[in-house]
Amino acid sequence: MNGATRTATAAAQRSVHASLTGHRHRSITATIFVAFIMLSTAVGLISLAVLLFTVLQDGLPYLDPILFTNGPSMDPNIAGARPAILASVLMAVVLVATALPVAIGTAVYLEEFAPKDRWWIRLIELNIQNLAAIPSIIFGILGLAFLVRGLGLGPVLLAGALILGLQMLPTVIIATREALRAVPATVRQGGMALGATRLQVVRREVLPAAIPGIATGSILGLSRAIGETAPLLMVGAATFVSFNPSLLSQYTVLPILIYQWIRLPQAEFQGLAAAAIIVLLVILISMNGIAIWMRNRYERKW
């Protein structure tokens, strides 16, 4: 009995080893599957490489200090993206300050405190999932009707940021809940057993343990929001803004400026658009870098 189990285990190990290292005993199905996933990866990587290459090729000659110091102009020689870059960064700051706390708070409540068997909790959960599937332009229409006109906020940066925040809520809530769920129940039980209150357990144990997952989810949501155009055009973002934005001023953001430049007939603006794309990419990559740093910094093994 014991010997038979050992033989079977050894055989299983051999076959696992063989399929991992790959040369012998690989079935045709496995070969096709491996070829398929490698092809899929290649498609993604090659298109990314081509995109990056063309953008860098077109944009690098225009990536100069003027781009960062000047406002937009119809003269490609002096056109810059300063107001748009500042607005995009300010937008990210407002999103971090408003949408993230709301989203993480909602997720913590739903996951750790809410009475899960109540119908209204289930209704809220269902709605959050539905919210994630709503096209962004609908958020724009909501923002126009409710924030810009209804509350009389006007077409200002704050209105745009709030609507993008609303749009990123479901992504962050769902990711945060997954991260909280991944924290083993034993951590909570251990804390409770030592006499900690539920709040203390969540604040000192569960939440820090979930930070890597929360950070990843937050950055995903934030990155999407920063690259968004449609809802902002709906809530009245302008295309030409020459002054530095504030919370309650008119504004334009990088994706809108890029769209605007690409439409212009002069070839120089195509290069400028590519340069602005590089700036947007660097902002997004830096944000991703922060998330990865946080994940590594706080990652724990259970």
Binding site: P61, L63, N77, V241, S242, L264, P265, G289
Partner: protein
């Protein structure tokens, strides 16, 4: 380990990007800074909100930029919601100036009346629609409006140049045009097919006229249309087609567009100024600035300037604005 490597890679990419941004070899000399002019008027302040046609936007943007140099404390923003979208905001009192590539429609005016928004209509520039074909197209140097209707009519079955005129070669007809939301599309369909929005639908539409340029450039049988300014920026890539509207072939240029002989594909462009907004000195100053510099502004924005009569009419209208 793997994640650390990812982190390092990402930081390296970010670092390279930042380094390139800091010391990239610029192909631009920076030109002369337009930030402040010598005769800058710092007593004016406030903000001017402009929205509307994306066709007029380059002109409005250029005017805003130059005006900002003379009045640095006035913040001017230009949006591109389209002519119709612009009027919607304008009649709701949300914008001060509305750009339009056509005159305001009666139903739009009715909404303005309802909201008690009164305005002056300024004809600010002329625009011509250029019909372009491929460089290798040797047969279509002039098309009649009937031939255009044969090509673009809503029921058009023309798939080859031979279907347009029996003397043309049997080359596949590839059509490019602006998206159905654009003022150019509205104007072209009205002028060629007699009804706004009436067009065959099996062409490649794009809001980006560069797509049309690239398309026609790459197809021997290609044909497309867009604003004359786009052609002037890409003269070497495409052939311009003269149009026969009943009185001989006319090529679009400043004179023929201004005097309307390039019929039916030349049109006026408008800015609508709200009377309420014009009571604010900065808005009035903006309008006056345009009136004073109209010739250079239209030329720099690649539009066809106003004729002396048109300029005189605009001056009268602008003077009628409460100030």
């Amino acid at each position: 380990m793997a994640t650390r490597k990812t982190l390092i890679t990402i930081m390296a990419i970010g670092g390279i990007g930042a380094a390139l941004a800091a010391c990239g070899g610029s192909s631009r000399d920076g030109g002369t800074s337009a930030s402040t002019a010598a005769n800058a008027d710092t007593s004016l302040s406030g903000s001017i909100v402009i929205d509307g046609s994306s066709t007029v936007a380059p002109l409005a943007t250029l005017t805003a930029e130059k005006f900002h140099a003379t009045a640095p404390n006035v913040n001017v923003t230009v949006g591109t919601s389209g002519t119709g979208g612009g009027f919607e905001k304008f009649c709701n009192g949300e914008t001060d100036v509305s750009d339009a590539s056509r005159a305001i429609k009666d139903e739009e005016k009715a909404i303005c009346d309802e909201k008690k928004v009164t305005f002056k209509e300024l004809l600010v520039a002329n625009d011509g629609i250029a019909i372009v074909v491929n460089k290798d197209n040797t047969w279509a140097s002039c098309l009649t409006t009937d031939q255009l209707a044969t090509i673009w009519g809503p029921d058009s079955k023309a798939t080859s140049w031979k279907d347009v005129d029996p003397s043309f070669p049997d080359e596949a007809l590839k059509l490019y045009g602006p998206g159905t939301d654009s003022g150019t599309f509205d104007f072209f369909t009205k002028a060629v097919n007699g009804e706004e929005g009436a067009s065959r639908t099996d062409f490649s539409p794009s809001e980006d006229d560069n797509v049309t340029i690239k398309g026609v450039e790459g197809e021997k049988g290609g044909l497309g249309y867009f604003g004359l300014s786009y052609y002037e920026q890409n003269k070497d890539a495409l052939n311009l087609v003269a149009i026969d509207g009943g009185s001989g072939c006319v090529k679009p240029d400043t004179t023929t567009v201004q005097d309307g002989t390039y019929a039916p594909l030349s049109r006026p462009l408008f800015m609508y100024v709200s009377d309420t907004a014009a009571t604010r000195p900065e808005v009035k100053a903006f309008v006056d600035f345009y009136v004073a510099n109209e010739q250079t502004l239209t030329a720099d924005a690649l539009f066809v300037p106003l004729s002396p009569e048109q300029a005189a009419t605009m001056k009268t209208e602008a003077a009628a604005l409460a100030g």
